[in-house]
């Protein structure tokens, strides 16, 4: 069921969670724009969120809002040699051969900001 680029059910749940989180914070305020951070290693496909956003937000204060998604790329620090390196996926090893790394970026899944009617 994990077919990159396709729409997965968990992006529906993630998008629903975005609506809940925004309503928890902003009440009924009409949202004009929302900016999300979805890291490339988060396991959430940004295009799938875009695909289901209009459907999920229908009838909510987010209906009609423009959706902006920032996709931080993966960065890690090797715990063995201390080098910092980029990761396209979670399988990349440090140049020293170590898999023992601390992820610094790429797993973000958060709502950065919203623009509301003042």
């Amino acid at each position: 069921m994990h077919d990159r680029g396709g729409v997965h059910l968990h992006e529906m749940a993630i998008t629903q969670s975005v609506v809940h989180a925004v309503c928890d914070r902003m009440g009924d305020a009409q949202i004009r724009r929302i900016c999300l951070e979805i890291g490339t290693l988060s396991g959430v496909v940004a295009d799938s969120v875009r695909f289901c956003f209009d459907l999920i937000t229908e009838g909510t204060p987010l209906e009609g809002a423009s959706l902006e998604i920032i996709q931080p790329t993966g960065r890690a620090r090797c715990r063995d040699c201390g080098a910092e390196f980029a990761l396209n996926d979670l399988l990349v090893l440090c140049e020293c051969g170590s898999a023992n790394r601390e992820l610094l970026a790429g797993e973000e899944l958060k709502i950065r900001e919203v623009e509301v009617m003042a």
């Binding site: 069921m1 968990h10 969670s17 958060k110």
Partner: protein, 247 residues
Amino acid sequence: MCATCGCSGETILEPHEHDHEHQHEHGHGHSHTRTVTLEQAVLARNDALAELNRKWLAERSILAVNLMSSPGAGKTTLLERTIRELGSELRVSVVEGDQETVLDADRIRATGAPAVQINTGSGCHLDAKMLAGGLQTLDPPEGSVVLIENVGNLVCPALFDLGEQARVVITSVTEGAEKPRKYPQMFRAADLVLLNKIDLLPYVRFDIEDFLDGARRANPGVEVLQLSATTGDGVADWYGWLRVRLP
């Protein structure tokens, strides 16, 4: 506060543009906007409920383990054997997540263990709220073990914290050795990987070294146990893993 017209706002990052002159008393019917910084985790609500579950379980000294796999990896068969073989030693109950049917819960109840079925419908994973409801119904006794059989799927369950103490990923040799490479988020989330159906190794093409390398890349240092839920080979190590985690 809005710098231009005085309406209140939590955070204003950028002054917005006003094309019109401010000669008039204006209400808020016009369409200027303000930007509010949230910096909030998308799954904050689930994570908060998961923390409540974790506290609830800890207060009762209950060990809750979240079992995740693709469909057909052998979760239910492993649960059946675990309950039959550890039932006299541990009090085990089961939360069954399934999209539609009660078949798995029926299989568990046939072993004599209490089981509660959560049908997720179109949902592809259990979340913390569902587990909270399941625990209320199940009412597991203090000092017992709750095994949570998540919906069969190696993608979505990885994202949702349930409040469990440990996450176990079960995969089988018939699924192929590339599973950790295809689903690294799931393997990264695991505290333990169980490689099931090793009795079938003579009949399938499965490179164990390649599998272990993929698992190590996704989750350095993750423990991997090899077993067969059907024949019982290797299950003693799984029981040992459970025993040392009992509160």
